[in-house]
């Protein structure tokens, strides 16, 4: 367990190697990166074994001294961080292998993998970090890598804009996180996460301050996990290469926010208002994104909104006190969402098309992609026995227990929506008639389909670890829930499970009618509900709102400041300081008349002045 730090360290080494000698390394550096993450994945199993055998531990090494404070760098090895280690290394490994196929022939291949290494290093450090400063540094690095990878094809203006938008939007949340960390530091005098949590639960910090700190920290999570109103960057982030979307914007980076709330969960539990705030934001987010996912026609955009919606669900779970449910959903969603993104990449790679209405019937040509996509889509929709069903069910259970019936009903609506948009996507792209122009497409190469299958298997069966018998077989007593320190092991709530299954079947029925049988034709529905459709297509006009604010307020203010800088500071201050002596000299020189008597008069006047000054 003390070697847990090696996992991110190997990726750092890979990054440096690729940065310096990328092109001369085997496979242009791809295999170095993959080996580093692969080794990390292997080490994860050792760390997991250690954890199960010996229990939790933290390791800390002194870093440097600032003022009177000794900054540390260290790792926490507990079920949460180890679970995150597992998903990050596994999905990163699969995505990198997939990228070997997807990014084949790309000129800046080495830099792509270098950025992947840096991202992996940062994300792994984030989940292991034992103090807030280390966490924050990793947090920012992850944001940087997101920027680099979204804007990978920087000759495309859309990609540049998207990268900027992602970075700036998450940065706004990061400010909140930093202030929250500092508020806690002011109260406890330490940056160590565990010490701060102990202080919070021990009642050493008064509730008002705790609430403020918790909400500020949540702001950071809102930014990274694309919660309302910071969700706007994620759909645009689809401009990046699809494997990047799969890794960063489905399974890992956006999960960092959820992880943060999970890591600081005792803090939120001690400040119930903050927890409810988390719930509300999550609920708004999931409904907002779920409704938008129903009308979008770009393959990856639908998936992006789906991600936002599921992240909202995770926050809903956490906000209702369901720590295990939220983290469990993080894991199942991570596998399934990464899979659907990679599937989308596979389709994009083969057909070159990203509009879902240009596709259709692809199961005939791309059977592996289609099969794995079916598994993942059903998992995300929440059909048993796939993994998504178990985690979604857990979420529904905690909401039912912890929140009012109205909120529960809304979460049920959100769950229904999540089934509907996923099934819509599945039916429109992979089923139905095959269009003539797509008749020539073929399945993707093995290096891309093997990761699909691996993730498919996990999407199918991972959920079963929630069950007691499975968990015990794996050495986790009490099932996964207890592994994550849930309050109780998993009890099947048959009514709820039946109800949610019924919901999925309802969604299946509706979407099959609309998109397979095409009666009524969905376009008819669109025409009937045109104003609503318009609202959703325009993303509730939020992007326009933000753009207006930026143009009218921020840019106007910047123009004002620029004007001040130009006229006052530059023209008057800097240039003026130069022109003043010239001007003064040009006008004062007329005192030098050259005439002796003028000078004599000046001497006389000066002498009189001195005498007067001395006399008075």
């Amino acid at each position: 367990m003390e070697i847990a730090w090696l996992i991110p360290a190997l990726c750092v080494a890979a990054f440096v190697l690729l940065l310096l000698w990328g092109r001369s390394l085997p496979g242009k550096g791809a295999w170095v990166t993959i080996s580093a993450v692969g080794a990390g994945f292997v080490l994860f199993w050792f760390v997991l074994g250690d954890l199960l055998a010996k229990g939790e531990a933290t390791f800390s090494w002194p870093w440097f001294q600032v003022g009177g404070y000794q900054l540390q760098v260290g790792t926490i090895v507990d079920p949460l961080s180890v679970a995150m280690l597992g998903i990050v290394t596994f999905v990163a490994l699969l995505v990198q292998v997939y990228s070997v196929g997807y990014m084949h022939g790309e000129p800046r291949y080495s830099w792509y993998f270098a950025a992947h290494s840096l991202f992996a290093a940062a994300m792994l450090s984030l989940v292991l970090a034992d103090n807030f400063i280390f966490l924050y540094i990793a947090w920012e690095l992850v944001g940087l890598c997101s920027y680099l990878l979204i804007g990978f094809w920087y000759d495309r203006p859309a990609a540049r804009e998207a990268a900027k938008k992602a970075f700036v939007t998450t940065r706004i949340g990061d400010v909140g996180l930093l202030i929250g960390i500092l508020v806690l530091f002011r109260e406890t005098g330490t940056f160590s996460i565990l010490d701060n949590l102990a202080a919070a639960t021990g009642g050493h910090i008064e509730t008002g301050t705790l609430t403020v700190a918790a909400i500020l920290i949540f702001l950071g999570a809102m930014g990274k996990s694309a919660q309302f109103p910071f969700h706007v960057w994620l759909p645009d982030a689809m401009e990046g290469p699809t494997p990047v979307s799969a890794l960063i914007h489905a399974a890992t980076m956006v999960a960092a926010g959820v992880y943060l709330v999970g890591r600081t969960f005792p803090l939120f539990q001690a400040a119930p208002m903050a927890l409810q705030f988390v719930f509300i934001i999550g609920l708004v987010t999931t409904l907002l994104a779920g409704t938008m996912a129903l009308v979008m026609s770009d393959f990856k955009r639908v998936l992006a909104y789906s991600t936002i919606s599921h992240l909202g669900l995770m926050m809903v779970a956490l906000g209702s006190g369901g720590f295990a449910a939220g983290i469990f959903h993080l894991l199942t969603h991570g596998f399934s969402k990464a899979l659907v993104f990679l599937g989308a990449g596979s389709v994009l790679h083969s057909t070159g098309k990203s509009e879902i209405w240009d596709l259709g019937g692809l199961w005939r040509r791309m059977p592996v992609t289609a099969a794995t996509f079916v598994v993942a889509a059903l998992s995300l929709a929440g059909l048993p026995p796939f993994s998504g069903f178990w985690s979604k069910d857990e979420i529904l259970k905690v909401v039912q227990e912890g929140q009012s019936p109205i909120f529960f009903a809304l979460v049920v609506v959100a769950a229904l929506l999540s089934a509907m948009y996923m099934l819509r996507l599945l039916f429109v792209v992979f089923f139905g008639p095959l269009k003539a122009e797509n008749a020539h497409v073929h399945e993707s190469p093995g290096v891309m389909t093997v990761p699909l299958v691996a993730l498919g298997v996990l999407s199918a069966v991972f959920g079963l670890v929630a069950l007691d018998p499975v968990g015990q077989r794996l050495g986790l007593s009490g099932g996964f829930g207890q592994f994550l320190h849930a309050s109780e092991p998993f009890h099947p709530d048959w009514l709820l499970m039946g109800g949610s299954t019924g919901l999925v079947l309802l969604a299946l029925g509706v979407t099959w009618t609309l998109y397979i049988r095409r009666s009524p034709d969905p376009r008819v529905l669109t025409a009937r509900l045109a104003p609503l459709y318009n609202l959703l297509r325009h993303k509730y006009f939020m992007d326009d709102l933000y753009q207006t604010i930026i143009d009218r307020v921020i840019l106007a203010f910047s123009r004002l400041v620029a004007l001040f800088d130009r006229t006052v500071v530059n023209d008057t201050g800097v240039d003026g300081a130069g022109h003043l002596p010239v001007f003064a000299g040009y006008h004062l020189r007329f005192h030098e008349t050259g005439k002796l008597y003028n000078y004599g008069l000046a001497i006389l006047v000066g002498a009189i002045a001195i005498v007067l000054a001395l006399a008075f």
Partner: protein, 102 residues
């Protein structure tokens, strides 16, 4: 005894006359003469104060000797300058020697 104030008045008048001459005269030699007049006025002042206020010591008179010596040296120097200017510019009118101007 002539009161001290008379000497001081004399000295003041002479100084003012000299000052007027320095500022108002065009001929360089006349300006020099006015300077001399100012210096002599100062001498009168010094000697008067010394004789009337501290009659046992001769501080003022000794200082007046110094002033005379300085005046003499200065006149020699000034006349050389005037001659040099006259040789190059053929004029002793200070109004016309104004090259060091804007």
């Amino acid at each position: 005894m002539i009161p001290l104030e008379h000497f001081l008045t004399l000295s003041g008048i002479l100084f003012s006359l000299g000052l007027f001459g320095v500022l108002a005269r065009r001929n360089a030699v006349l300006i020099l003469m006015s300077i001399e007049l100012m210096l002599n006025a100062v001498n009168i002042n010094l000697v008067a104060f010394s004789a009337y206020l501290v009659s046992t010591e001769f501080v003022g008179q000794v200082f007046a000797l110094f002033v005379i010596v300085v005046a003499a040296a200065e006149v020699g120097l000034a006349l050389s300058i005037i001659i040099a200017i006259y040789r190059s510019r053929a004029t002793s009118n200070v109004d016309e020697v104004d090259l060091m101007k804007w």
